[in-house]
Symmetry: C2
């Protein structure tokens, strides 16, 4: 069985993360202008599971990934505005699982105690909480990644594989070589 | 007296927010490759006060502004790496005051109680806390901005002017027409 995996490398495809004027002008119109991001929209709306692999920079998504949310997680695609601008209405009803692998230079306590895990919180409560209410989230943070060594990298790769298997089941073919490794490089 | 104000409109100048491969490769070398962002670097390192005006999208900076932090608030410019990758060393010693005006579609309690004010927290504890330790921060959030009316906008514009004067003093010429107004449009 397994899963059909589609790789989306925003850097490789030179994704432009800047929400355009046309997109912004159409944001509160009947139809959001998604013409410039239609391949990304199709992938997002058809997927039932997301695996996000990225470095955390300044306790946020890298700009290229932030822009993927800004432009693709948009009205009529990821959610609908409420008539009275109350809570938005979810549209990513296919999306059941999101698995995150991220790296941080900071130690765990700065992220958890001082910053309050902003990336995890935003994913859980804002993005998934608003657009895909039933989506489960597994979030793996690797801290102090500027001073890794091969022992720590190996340990973290095994952890990623274990957690992927737990989250997606034994038939998962998501732990493709390279994906996890990339995530641990500082 | 007053202040000399330099306007930096990232959209107008079509700023590219994507940290490039060369920038990333040089991130941990002796000299970060800032050749593609040298005008922005010069402005940042020479300023003693920042006024940031932006909409908050998904409880974060718009991608274009996130990328300004990713690319310009970089090693050798905004901070220096510590030798042991411990806490980074601040370099924006000129920067004494940062004033933020931002808008959110969400009500205050979602930002404050559920999300824990991630943008303010990241600015205060991560960006300024690491790069400009002595910088004072004033942060104005305008909530539920998707359903504003002219009364609320006027009230908020007056608040911005008042707070700007309090923060920068009576001789401030920072409350230039247009700047505040832009910030309140949904």
């Amino acid at each position: 069985m397994g899963h059909e995996v589609q790789l989306e490398d925003l850097y490789q495809k030179q994704f432009d993360p800047v929400l355009s004027i046309d997109e912004r002008l159409s944001y509160y119109q009947e139809n959001y202008d998604s013409s410039k991001v239609s391949p990304e929209v199709e992938k997002l709306t058809n997927t039932d599971a997301l695996v996000l692999i990225f470095p955390t920079w300044w306790f946020g998504f890298p700009a290229i990934l932030k822009g993927w949310f800004d432009r693709v997680w948009a009205p009529t695609i990821a959610y609908d505005h409420a008539n009275d601008y109350g809570p938005i209405r979810p549209k990513l009803n296919n999306l059941k699982k999101t698995f995150v692998v991220t790296t941080l230079g900071a130690p765990w306590w700065v992220d958890c105690i001082i910053l309050r895990r902003p990336v995890k919180r935003i994913l859980r409560f804002a993005l998934l909480g608003a657009c895909a209410k039933k989506c489960k989230l597994k979030f793996l943070s690797f801290y102090k990644c500027e001073s890794v060594n091969s022992v720590r990298i190996d340990k973290q790769l095994h952890k990623i594989e274990d957690e992927l298997t737990k989250f997606f089941g034994n038939n998962s073919n998501l732990s493709a070589p390279g994906d996890g490794e990339k995530a641990c490089r500082p």
